[in-house]
Amino acid sequence: MPDLVPAAIKDRVDTDDDTPGGTRETVLMAVSIPIIVLVGFGLYAWWHATADLDSVETSALGWSGVWLAMWEHIKLTLVAAVLVVVVGLPLGIMLTRPGFKRAAPAVVGVANAGQSAPSIGLIVLLAMWLGSGFWTAIWALGLYALLPVLRNVIVGLQGVEPTLVEAGRGLGLSNFDVLRRIELPLALPVIMSGIRTALVLLVGTAALATFINGGGLGGIISAGINLYRYSVMVSGAVLVALLALLIEWLGRVLELLTRPKGI
C-alpha cells in the first residue's frame, strides 16, 4: 500500500517560536558587561570625588592605595589562573589517556575535596606551612580553583566522539597529532568554560588573600569592617564585584574566540 504522505512529517501548524536562541543572548552579554563595568567604575570614581569622607576614610580609600590593591588583585587572579591551567591541562589530558584512565576518579576526588574545603582554611594552613605572602596565596588559590579546570578538561576530552579519534588514527595521525588537532580543538569549548568558572572563583577567593598579606582588594573590605565605615566596606565590595564581572567577561570573550568555527 503506497503511503502517500511520509509518516515522519507531522502536521505542526502552530508557529515555531524558538527565538534565535543563544547567539542573540551571548552578543547582548558580550557587549553589555564591559559597559556596565565602566559605568560602575565611573560612578564609583564620581562618588569618591564628591563624597565627604572623614580622615579615616580618605586614608583607607586613597587612590594610590586602591590602584595598588587592584593591581595586586589582578596579579593574584591571573597568576593563579595560569598556574591552574599549566597544572590542570596536562593533568587532565594525562588522566584521559588509556594508561592513566583508572586514576582519574581518585585525582578528581582529591580535587573535589580540595574545593569543598573552605578557601579561608586552605589559605591559613598554607600560610602556616609556607609562610605568608603572595606566593602562598597563589598556591592556596590554585588548589582551590583546580577542580573546575581539571574536571572540564577530563569531561571535554571524554566528550569527543570516539569514532572521530579512530578516524584520525586511521588516517595515520600519531597519538600526539590526534590529541593536538582533533581532541583538543573539539574539547576546547568545555575546557574554556571550566577556565572561566575557575577565573570567577579566583577573583572571589583572592579577596581573602589579605589575611595572609597576599594583597588585593580584600584589604579594603577588611579595613572597612574593622573601621566600621560603610563607605570603605561598600567601596571594597563594589570594586571587587566590578573586577569580577570584568574578568568573567574576559573569560566569556576568550571562550567565544577560541571556539573552533566548525562547531
Binding site: A60, L68, G131, S132, I212, A223, N226, Y228
Partner: protein, 342 residues
C-alpha cells in the same frame, strides 16, 4: 473480556515520597527557632564568687551581652568579665572576638553588647576624636570617662594599672645591625629597609601609623620616608610570627603581648611619646550600671590586679602555649581568689 481478577491493592511504593520533602523542610524551619544559632563565642565556665567580691548583690535577673575585640588580650579580658558576671548569676551572651575596634564600639553604641574592656587612649583619640592625647594616665582616664558618659551614656569603670600601648618591635639581629633602640632612630635605617608589618586598623587610625611616622620624620608615602609599598598588612596576631621570621623589619605589637618575650623581640621606645596611654577599663552602658550598681565593686578589685606583667603572662599562655582564653581567665580568677569552683 476476562473479568478483572480481585487483587490486593498496593499503593505504588516510590515517587509519592516526594511529598516528604516539604514536610522535612517545615520541620527543620520550625526547630530553627528554639535551637537558635549560637554565636562564635563558645563555652565559658562559671564559678562562685569569693574573696573581695563574694558579697556582691546577685545579678540573676540580668541578661548582659559582653563583647571584645579580636586580639588575644581583649578576648581574655572579655572572658574574665563573662566569668565574673555568670558567677554573679547573670545570663551572659558571649560576643567576644569582634573584628576591629570600630565594629566593637558600634556594637556598644547600638546596644548589641552592654559591656566591653576598652582602652583609654583609643576612647580619647579614636572614638571621641581628639587630636592630642593627655600624657597622665589618671587624667586621661577621667577625661575619657566624663566625656563618654556625657555624650554617649557609657560608663568607664575603675581603670587597671596596666598600659598596653602600641609599639614597634624588632628582632635582636635587626636591632644590633642598625643599633636602633628608639623610634626616633628610624631615620638611620635605609629607606629600603624601613619595612613595616601592620594590621589595617593602625594604618588608618588617627593615632595610627601615619601620625607616628610623621612624628619621627619618616612620613608615609614619601619616597624619603616610608613608601606605601613597604607596608605589609596582616591580621593582628599574625604580625609577631612574620616579624620574627623577617618578612618585615618593624612589626606593630601590643606591649603586653606574650610573644614579644617568647620570640625575643625588642620593643623600640616611644621616646617622643607619640602614642597615648592605653589603660584598660570595663565600659558599661549607663542604663545597665544604674540598674546594677554592684557592677562597680564587682570589677574594681579585679582590674586593680591587672598589671602589665600579669597580662604578659596570661597572653603568653594563650598565644604561646595555645590554651583556651576562657580556661586561662578562669584559672587566674581562681588563683587571685575572686572565684571558686562551683
Amino acid at each position: 473480556m476476562p473479568t478483572p481478577t480481585a487483587r490486593p491493592r498496593r499503593k505504588p511504593p516510590s515517587g509519592g515520597r516526594l511529598a516528604l520533602v516539604p514536610l522535612l523542610v517545615a520541620l527543620l524551619l520550625a526547630t530553627s527557632g528554639c535551637l537558635g544559632l549560637g554565636t562564635a563565642g563558645g563555652y565559658v565556665p562559671t564559678g562562685r564568687l569569693t574573696g573581695p567580691v563574694e558579697d556582691t548583690k546577685s545579678l540573676d535577673d540580668a541578661t548582659i551581652s559582653v563583647g571584645s575585640k579580636n586580639f588575644t588580650e581583649n578576648v581574655l579580658l572579655g572572658k574574665m568579665a563573662i566569668i565574673l558576671l555568670q558567677s554573679a548569676g547573670a545570663t551572659v551572651t558571649d560576643l567576644t572576638n569582634i573584628p576591629g575596634s570600630a565594629s566593637a564600639r558600634e556594637a556598644m553604641l547600638n546596644g548589641q553588647i552592654q559591656g566591653m574592656w576598652e582602652y583609654t587612649g583609643t576612647g580619647w583619640i579614636v572614638y571621641l576624636e581628639h587630636e592630642k592625647a593627655i600624657p597622665d594616665e589618671q587624667k586621661q582616664y577621667e577625661a575619657v570617662r566624663d566625656e563618654d558618659l556625657k555624650s554617649n551614656k557609657l560608663a568607664w569603670l575603675k581603670p587597671a594599672p596596666m598600659n598596653n600601648t602600641y609599639g614597634f618591635a624588632v628582632t635582636k639581629k635587626i636591632a644590633d645591625k642598625y643599633k636602633i633602640t628608639k623610634l626616633s632612630e628610624l631615620k638611620k635605617v635605609p629607606v629600603k629597609e624601613r619595612t613595616f608589618c601592620v594590621e589595617s586598623e593602625l594604618i588608618n587610625r588617627p593615632d595610627g601609623l601615619k601620625g607616628m611616622l610623621e612624628k619621627y620624620d619618616v612620613p608615609l608615602g614619601d619616597p624619603k620616608g616610608v613608601p606605601r609599598s613597604n607596608l605589609k598588612t596582616f591580621q593582628t596576631g599574625a604580625i609577631y610570627d612574620a616579624t620574627a621570621k623577617g618578612s618585615c623589619n618593624f612589626g606593630e605589637v601590643f606591649t603586653t603581648d606574650g610573644r614579644i618575650v617568647a620570640l625575643n623581640l625588642e620593643v623600640l621606645e616611644d621616646d617622643r611619646e607619640f602614642f597615648p596611654k592605653y589603660n584598660v577599663s570595663f565600659v558599661v552602658g549607663e542604663g545597665t550600671l544604674k540598674k546594677y550598681p554592684q557592677l562597680e565593686d564587682l570589677f574594681a578589685p579585679v582590674s586593680e590586679k591587672l598589671t602589665n606583667d600579669a597580662l604578659l603572662k596570661l597572653n603568653a599562655q594563650v598565644d604561646v602555649d595555645g590554651r583556651e582564653p576562657a580556661d586561662v581567665a578562669f584559672e587566674w580568677l581562681k588563683k587571685e581568689g575572686f572565684v571558686k569552683d562551683q
